[in-house]
Symmetry: C2
Subunit: 207 residues, 2 copies
Amino acid sequence: MSSQPIEFWFDFASNYSYMSVMRIEQEAARWGVTMKWRPFLLGPIFKSFGWSNSPFVLQTWKTEYVWRDMERECRKYGLAWKRPSAFPRSSLLPARVALIGAEQPWMGEYCRRVMQLNFAADQDIDSVACMSEVLAELGLKAQEIIDQAQHETNKLRLRRQTELAGTKGVFGAPTFFVEGEMFWGNDRLDDALIYARASKPPVTRIS
Amino acid sequence: MSSQPIEFWFDFASNYSYMSVMRIEQEAARWGVTMKWRPFLLGPIFKSFGWSNSPFVLQTWKTEYVWRDMERECRKYGLAWKRPSAFPRSSLLPARVALIGAEQPWMGEYCRRVMQLNFAADQDIDSVACMSEVLAELGLKAQEIIDQAQHETNKLRLRRQTELAGTKGVFGAPTFFVEGEMFWGNDRLDDALIYARASKPPVTRIS
């Protein structure tokens, strides 16, 4: 694996994050790049710009286009898609759980399931019931993880993580970082991986 | 050639239009798709949203990222790049000339030269002197074309073309249309061409 990992900043509420969540583990593996999950909340970032909602909602002239684009892009990547009846959905508990799972082997599958609930099954994701079901399906101790996720320490950690996103210059999601180089949007995932791959080619060992 | 052409809506002031202007003729030829040039002005579109300037300028948190992205993307496509010292540049006369040239064989080369002046040579483009030089270099009767371009009929035509962009739902540039299907951004040029190509495959003639 390359020694320059890709940091993946995403929010379960973000539709373009959906595509990257579904693609990134497989793509990173294909490029031989290690990845780091960085769940955060876009809401406070948008608020810091004076926006009360997603720009896709506030900029009404863009809304219909975004949904049409999602439909086409999901087809392109072979992903299921159903336009969510609520957007953006609250993603607080899913993000808190993701922070607990970020270094765990179940993280990828967990993130994909939550994203599919939001953007393929049109279901609310921000509830203990929903999270319990997802975690149980993964064979995990749901209650234990949810308790950890809702602990004050973890709540604070998510606030800090979101503040860090702001400090790093994140203004949307998904956003990727490789060695401080920022890439914004699912459309830049490949570029970010190529950059990571080139930044430090793996050493060829002569045995 | 496919019978479903791609319409290419662009503004010489727009940095992401630069990349599409440089790429589109070659890419369309590669896919066997005919193209239609649709120069227009983004300014009035942005004004209709209540924006006094480009969102890349108004959304200050995005500005530096956009220039870094341009640098990387131009490298990816093998295009020269120099961050313009003025942005967005006025593109009124270049757009008026482009309207005259839209159906002419010199259109592609004209557009590429104007874009290179703006985004690779960091030069102002909205002057009779600049346009005269570009047109003369193409071996054209510069004064005649500029006179046509500045005629009231043509000025009105550009206003109408820009209004039409708004009516069609254009909110940025470059924008591509294939059979009423809209694609926004240089990142969607390939998708638009693939869509055009698939929409009506060329007839195979058996001789």
